[in-house]
Amino acid sequence: MTDTPAQPVDLVDPDSFADGIPYGYFDHLRSDDPVHWHPHPDHDGFWAITRAADVEAISRDTTRFSNYEKGVFLEADTVLPLDFIRQSLLLMDPPQHTRLRRTISRRFTPKTVTNLEPRVRQITNEVIDQVIEQGTCDFSADIAVQLPLAMICELMGVPEADRMQVFEWANKISSFDDPSVRADVDDGLIAFEESYIYVIELAEEKLENPGDDLISLLAQPDTGGDEPLSEIEIANFFQLLSVAGNETTRHTTCHGLQALIDHPDQRRQLRDDPSLVPNAVEEILRWGSVVNYFRRTPMEDVELHGTRMKAGDPVALYYVAANRDPEAFPDPDTFNIQRDFKGNQFAFGGGGPHFCLGATLARMQLRVMFETLVERLPDATNAGPITRLRSNWMHGIEAMPIEFTPGAPSAP
């Protein structure tokens, strides 16, 4: 953490995040310049919003602030062309968003997630079994990345035989974030298209032969009278889960372990009393907030704290700054697994219609993961420097070598 708040930081340059989030600069913006105009090399610039209350208010105001208009990134066509990702729930505005979200929510319920928990626990233990005798591993690649995607495949009913292929696609797609780790940008785009086609065909098959998976449920009419999702809508939802849900959960898991390594007293508390894990997960989500920002576009001129944001101006909601706002989280730079949360932390967005649809699933996965980690790898510690994702929008950990006292696999 930096103590030189006045030093300007280029929030567009991914290298500004090379050593972690520039929290000191965000502290300065939040306190002195909460509606800050920041230059951008591709266009005039953008507004950086850093106060928790403002991030929440704009997130909820889908009448005046659009996701659809210009997408959710500051750079055009980040990840994929805007026209492509506009089909995703993340880039829709009401009323299209309302209808699709309601249709999904009626089928993707807390009960769906609860039913998955035994399988999540089993997979988590199997993943740890793979490394526990070695006493060392890359926590990011060997553990954190394994669970979320396996769960998405499980949830969506991807046949066992196809899962390695789905993993490969997701890995290629996710490397969009970091030019230094992607071999070829075309690989990611081709993987996107191939996986898209795969899910459309899978959805068509499940329309013919429904199972007890989420794709089959999404493809069926429900008692609420909503139309079922089309194959395209199912494919878009799958992509959203497998890119957004997979990467964010993976990186949060890494940040969580790192926070526990860095705060041995907190880890001790968690080991002594595993009932603290659910609250610890909220603190991990706040502390290691993975999505730095998402963009909104005002559909009319909006005045905030005496500053006029014009219609069409890019507005970046910095969740990562909101999560360290002392107005929302007293003593925000302290990692405290017993923090008393009055409201939501901002790792799942600022609230309102775009609040993360996968939050319940992510929370359950993280809870099971940390319950298992404190029990089975209680002394895991860093075995080398971590490698951060090079990105101005995603706070990720690509590699995290750890070492621990070897143990026995949980099952033969």
């Binding site: 492509f84 089909q87 081709i190 298209e193 898209y196 086609i197 065909e201 395209i232 878009n236």
Partner: protein, 139 residues
């Protein structure tokens, strides 16, 4: 020198892919379900192709220019030829601006699962006409 030398070749080879797709058992249902009116503007050679998946018709040339469309694409005819040979990825081409689109792109995505069947048909069409020269395109 473009791969397809004129409007007639575009009609004869690329237009034929769609005519066959309307009746081929692997693609017929998907085409009818999509029900799209797709316009493609080709350059070098310059022409317009309209594929109407409601009326199951393909029109190439000036007659296609004023027809109503739901989604439109524009590309070099050489890129169209490479696409149908399976040597140009649609998403990559769109991202790089080689294929430009107007209208709801999601509607086009619906068609992608049948592309693999159509690639095979394009090869058949060219082979039937003895056009090994056109089949031998490098990436």
């Amino acid at each position: 020198m473009p791969y397809l030398k004129d409007e007639a070749e575009i009609d004869k080879y690329i237009g034929e892919i769609f005519r066959r797709s309307f009746v081929h058992p692997d693609t017929e249902a998907r085409v009818k379900k999509a029900g799209l009116r797709m316009r493609v503007d080709y350059a070098e050679p310059d022409t317009v192709m309209m594929v109407d998946m409601q009326d199951l018709t393909v029109v190439v040339g000036s007659d296609a220019e004023d027809l109503e469309w739901d989604v439109a694409l524009a590309m070099q005819a050489d890129d169209g030829h490479k696409f149908w040979l399976g040597k140009l990825n649609f998403t990559v081409a769109m991202t790089k601006g080689k294929i430009r689109t107007k209208g709801p792109v999601a509607e086009l995505l619906k068609l992608l699962p049948m592309a693999k069947y159509l690639f095979a048909q394009y090869q058949e069409i060219l082979a039937e006409d003895g056009r090994d020269d056109l089949l031998a395109v490098q990436r």
